[in-house]
């Protein structure tokens, strides 16, 4: 066996670089985080050739003294923590002291820095991790890091770089992540000398969110806010109709750090329960604040994963915050738009309403240009219909120009479903109604399913369902992680009528089941819930078991498509819809109604162009 040696520092830095510096966007992320930690309020990012040729981040922060500057390129040198107590109470974005030496080890690296009160700055040059010239230079206060020829000495990594466009989109994403988290800092992103993004400092975080999410968020953003036992959640979410096919419209921040976290994402989606179709993701910006000692950010070198000490509480708080924010949407969204200050000023409020919709918002589906224009534009309004019933005339929609002051959505006098004037039934499936300048189309099955579901849920909440004790308990084996997580979940299972008992070792026995699960093997369902719990760290879905059984009853009991409804029946359906908590989606998340504005129809017919 060859003898064991300590790796030379250059090599160990390269290994670290493999973890920290995955692609140009990782460099941007690390450097921007350093700039933010240095109290900058202006950060300029310049990129050439998607980051292959140059990544340069310049800030106007505190800068570094000459000694510190030289130390900063040593591994595990950081100004951000001092002892191991600090490691568990991290208030800065960086702390590992790995980024600069790692980046420097795989690029030609230049650092220029000057402290505000220093007369002269320092320029440090490195190449592939080897220190080059160190000179004094005249420089503006702050720090500039230029990274050239990334991965020039690691050809394998370089080979894995994707096209300029792809790398650039990752870089934009990294900058957007920082921009949303730090609204008071001005960000500029340049690519090949051209300004790509420019976000001026915003006083109101909502301005920045709207700026970054862009014009696509059709229904306006709902503010989210809740605090529970030290866990605070704030942010904005778009209505269910702005859903996406991927989770890329979700921006999550924990104590200011942008992260990807399955548990938080799950809680967010859980808050949307009954409003989103399966497999769809909301658009959301969520800031989660927990005391630094109750979250571990030192999970991975890239620091985009965290661990909470009280996952359950965080999950509950987020889910409740999101559900709470959506509540007014479902109930009478058009009213909330007027009464409740959303905190999102005019510029962010839907520049695109359904009226102008067909071509504007970023639709998750790729634009199908090959399609005939009529069918394409007919299909789209559904996707961009506003999340809440909002039948106000299209003319009153805010126009495209950003306005300085918050816009009060006009209070629409007749805002209930029962006030709609019914035109008739189309294909014995859709109820056509008109209100002012809008054509409202209601899916009778989806609408009645929602009504029936809410009635069932209300009645079920008053009477406990009896569960059947099993004469022969169903036993099955769990793996050790599932067995461990089951123990505290036993009361939760019992609350829905499923009695699970540890049997022996990792074997558990189901001793009673609710009626709707009887005669079906219970083990796969319980294991699925436990697997999910192992995956995201909290138990979710147990309470949903009951709701799902109600959904089946509601779906089967609801009036079907292709059934002629009398005028009386239609009126009654609309009145019942008004009584629903969330009349806009069926229990599976499908929309119950869509809106075509007169303006959209006129455009389609080329009456106006």
């Amino acid at each position: 066996m060859p003898e064991i040696k300590i790796l030379p520092e250059i090599l160990s830095n390269k290994i670290a670089a493999g973890e920290v510096v995955e692609r140009p966007a990782s460099v941007v992320k690390e450097l921007v985080e350093n700039a933010l930690d240095a109290d900058s309020d202006r950060i300029v990012i310049s990129v050439e050739k998607g980051g292959r040729a140059l990544i340069q981040v310049a800030d106007n922060g505190t800068g570094m003294a000459a000694d510190d500057a030289l130390l900063s390129i040593e591994r595990y040198a950081t100004s951000k923590i001092y002892d191991d107590k600090d490691l568990f109470a991290i208030g800065t974005l960086g702390f590992r002291g790995e980024a600069l030496p790692s980046i420097a080890s795989v690029s030609r690296f230049v650092l220029e820095t000057r402290k505000r009160d220093a007369d002269i700055g320092l320029r440090v040059e490195m190449s592939g991790g080897t220190l080059g010239r160190v000179t004094e230079v005249g420089a503006p206060p702050g720090t500039l890091v230029a990274v050239r020829d990334l991965f020039f000495n690691t050809p394998a990594r370089r080979k894995f770089l994707k096209s300029t466009a792809t790398e650039m989109s990752h870089i934009s994403e990294a900058v957007a992540n920082a921009a949303i988290g730090w609204p008071r800092v001005a960000f500029t992103l340049r690519h090949d000398g051209r300004e790509v993004k420019s976000w001026p400092a915003a006083n109101d975080p909502a301005d920045r969110v709207a700026d970054v999410l862009g014009r696509g968020v059709g229904g306006g953003l709902q503010p989210v806010s809740r605090e529970n036992g030290g866990v605070a959640v704030s942010g904005w979410i778009a209505g269910p109709d702005d859903s996406r096919a991927t989770s890329r419209g979700i921006y999550l921040y924990v104590n200011g750090r942008c992260i990807r976290d399955r548990m938080i994402q799950h809680a967010l989606v859980a808050g949307f329960r009954g409003r989103l179709m399966k497999g769809r993701f909301p658009v959301a910006v969520l800031f989660v604040t927990v005391p630094p000692d109750r979250v571990d950010v030192n999970v991975h070198p890239t620091k985009n994963e965290v661990r909470f000490s009280d996952q359950q509480r965080v999950h509950r708080t987020i889910e409740a915050a999101v559900a709470g924010a959506l509540m007014p949407l479902g109930q009478s969204g058009w009213r909330s738009g007027a009464d409740a200050p959303t905190g999102v000023p005019a510029a962010t409020r839907i520049e695109t309403t359904a009226a102008e919709a067909p071509e504007s918002p970023p639709d998750p589906q790729p634009p199908k240009t090959a399609e005939p224009p009529l069918s394409a534009s007919l299909r789209k309004p559904a996707a961009v219909a506003e999340p809440a019933p909002d039948f106000r005339p299209a003319d009153d929609a805010p126009d495209l120009a950003p306005r300085p002051a918050p816009v009060q959505t006009p209070v629409w006098e007749r805002r209930l479903f029962r006030d709609l004037s019914v035109i008739g039934q189309f294909r014995e499936t859709y109820i056509l109604c008109e209100s002012d300048d809008n054509l409202i189309i209601i899916d009778q099955h989806a609408a009645h399913e929602r009504i029936y579901f809410e009635q069932l849920r209300f009645r079920a909440s008053r009477v406990r369902q009896a569960s059947q004790r099993l004469l022969i308990p169903e036993t099955f084996e769990l793996n050790w992680r599932e067995a461990e997580i089951l123990e505290p979940l036993i009361p939760a299972f019992a609350s829905v009528g499923i009695d699970v008992e540890p049997f022996s070792g990792r074997t558990v026995a189901v001793t009673s089941l609710p009626g709707f699960l009887l005669g079906k093997p219970a083990a796969p369902m319980i294991i699925e819930i436990l697997e999910k719990a192992v995956d995201i760290g909290v138990a979710a879905g147990i309470d949903k078991v009951v709701e799902e059984s109600l959904m089946v009853v509601a779906c089967h009991g609801a009036i079907r498509a292709h059934r002629r409804l009398s005028g009386e029946e239609i009126r009654h359906l609309l009145a019942q819809l008004d009584a629903c908590e969330n009349p806009s989606n069926c229990p599976h998340g499908r929309p119950t109604w869509i809106k075509w504005t007169a303006r959209f129809l006129e455009k389609t017919f080329h009456r106006i162009v």
């Binding site: 069932l456 009645r459 079920a460 008053r462 009477v463 406990r464 369902q465 009896a466 569960s467 059947q468 004790r469 099993l470 004469l471 022969i472 169903e474 009528g497 009695d499 009673s512 609710p514 009626g515 709707f516 009887l518 005669g519 079906k520 093997p521 059984s549 109600l550 009853v553």
Partner: protein, 371 residues
């Protein structure tokens, strides 16, 4: 191959095998019946690979041969055939003519060589038992079934056990769906039963057997390798056994310190049938309250409403209350033959035993619901 057969004979047989040939499958040959004509009989066979049937019937055979023909189509043609004698004739290779002259149907047969083999039973030792008793045993046990997608052997199968002690010999059938369990005994003193260990027979197969158990006095049962065998006069069944453990049912049947409460079977059955009007998928339970000579049954279903019925009983023990799925009681009371049923209830969370007052050969255990 050519033969003439009596319409009534073949119609009944074909009607009864539809349960075997009608099973959804991707093996088309199992949707056919195999017909063999030999000297003065035709032999009809059907199988779904689990349950195999063979029967021999008199016919006027003109020429011998074998065909495999779609069981459903043949049955439908025969069922409404206008004359008593039906000609079946393989005109040429697998082109089968039914009828002759004014009524002629031609059906494409399948290759009889593809027909799955049905295990031979000729040399297996058999046990003779009363046909009517066996029929009642199966009837009382197959009513307890699990969900269609449940593939646990102890739910899908009926456990058949031969208990041969010094003082008594009997066959015992046990059936469960996980929430309740029934046992039926068949005591015997003549003969030796070749079933030496407990076996699991699919409920599906036994339900098919049920259709064939009729006026004959006795049938013979036995075991051949991994198959349960049933033989009567000219017909026989082979059912492939299920593999799996059967729960120790004897431990479950515990006669504790419970109250033995006699109830009028018919009256109680009617009460429960009315109570189950309020049952739905999500709300199945009714609450039995046994108090001083009075049984009160209540149902609450938030989807529908509530109901209450009272019934006089002979009971003077401590009041006891328990919730049950009324369907389980209806099934059990429906197959008890005595006029009075005995209910043995210990508490709201212990199994409840239901049986006849005098006939102790049938017993049912029902688990309460938890409220």
């Amino acid at each position: 191959m050519k033969f003439v057969i009596n319409k009534t004979d073949i119609r009944n047989i074909l009607g009864k095998v539809q349960g075997i040939t009608g099973r959804r499958t991707n093996l088309a040959i199992t949707e056919t019946v195999l017909i063999q004509a030999k000297s003065d009989t035709v032999k009809i066979a059907a199988t779904d690979l689990e349950t195999g049937f063979e029967g021999e019937y008199p016919a006027t055979v003109e020429s011998e041969g074998v065909i495999a023909i779609n069981a459903k189509k043949l049955y439908e043609i025969v069922r409404d055939f206008p004359s008593e004698a039906i000609d079946v004739n393989e005109v040429e290779n697998r082109w089968i003519e039914i009828g002759s002259g004014r009524i002629e149907y031609h059906i494409v047969g399948m290759n009889p060589d593809d027909f799955p083999e049905i295990p031979e039973i000729d040399d297996a030792p058999l046990f003779e038992m009363d046909s009517r008793s066996l029929k009642r045993m199966i009837e009382k046990t197959v009513i307890i079934t699990g969900a269609t997608d449940d593939n646990r052997a102890h739910i899908n199968g009926i456990y058949l056990e031969n208990i041969a002690d010094d003082d008594e010999k009997m066959l015992k059938m046990v059936s469960t769906d996980g929430s309740r369990l029934s046992t039926v005994d068949y005591p015997y003193d003549k003969g030796e039963c070749p079933i030496d260990k407990g076996i699991l027979i699919p409920k599906k197969g036994l339900s098919e057997v049920l259709k064939f158990l009729g006026p004959e006095k006795t049938v013979q049962i036995g075991l051949k390798d991994t198959h349960f065998i049933l033989k009567k006069e000219n017909e026989s069944f082979t059912i492939r056994l299920l593999e799996g453990e059967y729960p120790n049912y004897k431990d479950i049947i515990v006669r504790g310190a419970g109250h033995d409460i006699p109830v009028d079977r018919q009256l109680f059955l009617m009460v429960l049938k009315r109570m189950s009007i309020l049952s739905s998928d999500n709300y199945k339970g009714v609450i039995f309250n046994f108090d001083d000579n009075l049984l009160t049954v209540r149902a609450t279903n938030p989807e529908i409403g509530e109901s209450k019925e009272e019934m006089a009983i002979e009971f003077n023990g401590e009041p006891v209350e328990a919730a049950f799925n009324p369907k389980y009681f209806i099934d059990t009371l429906g197959v008890i033959e005595d006029d009075t049923a005995m209910i043995n209830l210990v508490s709201a969370d212990k199994p409840c035993i239901v049986e006849g007052e005098n006939d102790k050969s049938y017993l049912s255990i029902i688990m309460p619901m938890k409220i």
